[in-house]
């Protein structure tokens, strides 16, 4: 007998433990079917598995299984200098590296007591809002792909995303892994002509959004697949600590850009769109509306950006040791509240480094939302939560 067999010492074959104890409905004919959706299911947004128990086509139990993309981010960060963790934050939510950078920089700035020059604040807001555009555009594309619109919306989304990524590349040197923000400012100044190019992209974007909405918002198939599917009420959303568009779709007015007013968000005039029912359609619509509000912020920021230094002169690249203490920096990332909690013991490495990832916490209501829905809707609901496994697993 080979060493690999699952035999116990007594020679009795060990029965593989069942995942669920689900009692079938008394009227039901047939039996409960367990399906492992993932980890390589094309519509699970990465390596994410849902162990689903089905009664016919209805979901009676759902267990999310993740960790396939675990990279030990937090522990690595505790063994590395503060600056060395910055490129790793790019890889959390790899669609929104600039907002990840910002949240981490914010936490370290609080810890070390650094201030950020005005121009750097503007650059941060411009890049963060561009990131929000990228994220929401792609998310809508992926959501439609989950509903079976193979290609067209996603390709349109990627076409627009490419224009923003081009801006990121000319500014930071990389399209996705930007590694741009530094403690006390930004790494490099805007290259010549960048602002004009950004203004052009921002001016063209509403046209694309109109086109996108023409294509989608009144499409009967999209309405049938999304309205009344996967409702999350305000109570559940608040008690589960959800954040971001998924919380606002439930009608809860909570946006850190308005609540915390971190950076210089208090200078800009924008509104926070809210949903009513918290179904998938609301979540879709909230993202479209948020993009329009982001464009408003971008227009104001691109008009007002001042000249000046881009980094605090006190900020040190080598030998950076914040004094002992703790800090929590949080921002409204495109997916929700992204927070970094740091404890410093005065050494060059953080003593504790903790990430509060929005997509991970937004996933916690997945079972509540999916129970009683059909298996086809589970895919749509997961798509509307907007997860990136790099951030869920860390």
């Amino acid at each position: 007998m080979s060493d690999h067999s699952i035999m116990t010492e007594g020679g009795v074959p060990e029965v593989a433990p069942r995942h669920y104890e689900v009692t079938p409905h008394p009227d039901m004919e047939g039996e409960i079917l367990e399906v492992a959706m993932g980890p390589h299911h094309p519509s699970t947004h990465g390596v994410f598995r849902m162990d689903v128990a089905l009664e016919g086509e209805r979901v009676v139990k759902l267990k999310p299984v993740f960790g396939y993309l675990h990279r030990n981010h937090e522990k690595i960060a505790e063994g590395a200098s503060y600056l060395s963790s910055m490129p790793y934050t790019d890889r959390l939510d790899y669609f929104c590296s600039l907002t990840n950078n910002w949240a981490y920089a914010l936490a370290v700035e609080k810890l070390a007591g650094l201030s950020v020059p005005e121009r750097a604040e503007y650059i941060r807001i411009i890049t963060a809002e561009l990131t929000r555009l990228v994220n929401h555009t792609c998310l809508v594309g992926f959501l439609l792909m989950d509903m079976g619109a193979l290609g067209t919306p996603l390709m349109y989304a990627f076409r627009e995303r490419e224009k923003v990524l081009d801006l990121f590349e000319s500014l930071t040197g990389a399209r996705m892994m930007c590694n741009y923000m530094r403690f006390g400012g930004c790494r490099v100044d805007l290259p010549p002509g960048w602002l004009d190019q950004a203004r052009r992209v921002v001016a063209d974007y509403p046209g694309f959004l109109d086109e996108f909405e023409n294509l989608l918002s009144s499409n009967e198939i999209l309405l049938a697949r999304t309205q009344g599917v996967g409702n999350i009420g305000a109570d559940l959303a608040v008690s589960s600590a959800l954040s971001g568009p998924i919380l606002r779709a439930a009608g809860v007015n909570y946006d850190l850009r308005k609540v915390d007013r971190y950076g210089i968000y208090d200078r800009f005039d924008f509104r926070v769109p809210l949903g009513e029912t918290g179904d998938v359609f609301d979540r879709y619509m909230i993202r479209i509306l948020e993009m329009r509000e982001s464009l408003k912020i971008l227009r104001q920021a691109l008009a007002d950006i001042p000249e000046g230094p881009i980094i605090d002169p006190k900020a040190k690249i080598r030998g950076f040791r914040p004094k002992p203490g703790e800090s929590y920096g949080r921002i409204e990332a495109p997916k929700g509240e992204l927070g970094f909690y740091l404890i410093s013991d005065g050494s060059p490495n953080p003593y504790r480094y903790r990430v509060r990832p929005p997509s991970f916490i937004n996933l916690t209501t997945l079972e509540d939302t999916c129970l009683g829905q059909t298996i086809a809707d589970v895919v749509v609901i997961l798509g509307s939560v907007d997860i990136v496994l790099g951030e869920v697993d860390r």
Binding site: L83, S85, M177, N179, L215, N219, E220, I221, L223, R318
Partner: protein, 213 residues
């Protein structure tokens, strides 16, 4: 009317399809290997070592201080200090690397090494077509493969390299002035020593102390 939204969507795709024949901006892709987009000046792929002058190993700016090795997030840089020193661009004796390896299969192109380097010795390359059949050996670059001339650096990142060259020129000038001043002081000291050799040694010693600081 049921289906109105779908027809509206179809009209949108049709406009995009027909537009791709008439409107340049609708054509968003390029035929990559034959057709290339220009690289951005800030573009970064993998690090390389800058050398001045003609001989790569003699002109290497790296002084093997190992800061980049310590700061590298994925720890893909491996440096061994050479015991022998060589003069740097201002003529000061500095260490040099006996081994300087970068494993670009591990490197994540984050540019931290470039930022922490106090000697402007390591910079980011824009070369990206580096695929290879050999998975390990060919992607582990040693200092001979990594060394690229300052002219090359100036070509790929003109404004950045220009600023660094200017700063280094100023440093050279300052060093020359300092050397000149030191030579003059030494000459004065020698003269003073000769003058005061017969009479009093105190004045010469005091003079030397004044100039040497």
């Amino acid at each position: 009317m049921l289906g109105k939204g779908i027809i509206k969507g179809m009209a949108e795709t049709a406009r995009n399809f027909i537009g791709s024949y008439t409107d340049e901006s609708r054509l968003t892709t390029v035929e990559y290997p034959e057709e290339r987009l220009p690289q951005h000046e800030n573009a970064r792929q993998f690090p390389f070592l800058v050398y001045d002058g003609e001989a790569p190993m003699a002109g290497l700016r790296c002084v093997a201080c190992q800061i980049c090795e310590k700061e590298c997030p994925p720890k893909c840089i491996y440096i061994v200090k050479d015991k022998a020193k060589k003069p740097d661009f201002v003529g000061k004796a500095q260490f040099q690397p006996a081994t300087f390896d970068i494993d670009i299969s591990v490197c994540m192109s984050c540019q931290i090494c470039v930022e922490v380097c106090p000697f402007d010795a390591i910079k980011m390359d824009t070369e990206f077509e580096l695929s290879h059949h050999d998975r390990f050996g060919a992607l582990l670059l040693d200092k001979h493969q990594l060394a690229k001339s300052n002219d090359y650096y100036r070509r790929i990142h003109p404004s950045e390299a220009g600023a660094i060259d200017q700063r280094r020129e100023e440093e050279v000038k300052k060093a020359e002035e300092k050397a000149k001043a030191a030579a003059a002081a030494a000459a004065a000291k020698a003269a003073a020593a000769k003058e005061g050799a017969g009479t009093s040694g105190d004045a010469g010693a005091a003079d030397a102390k004044g100039t040497s600081t």
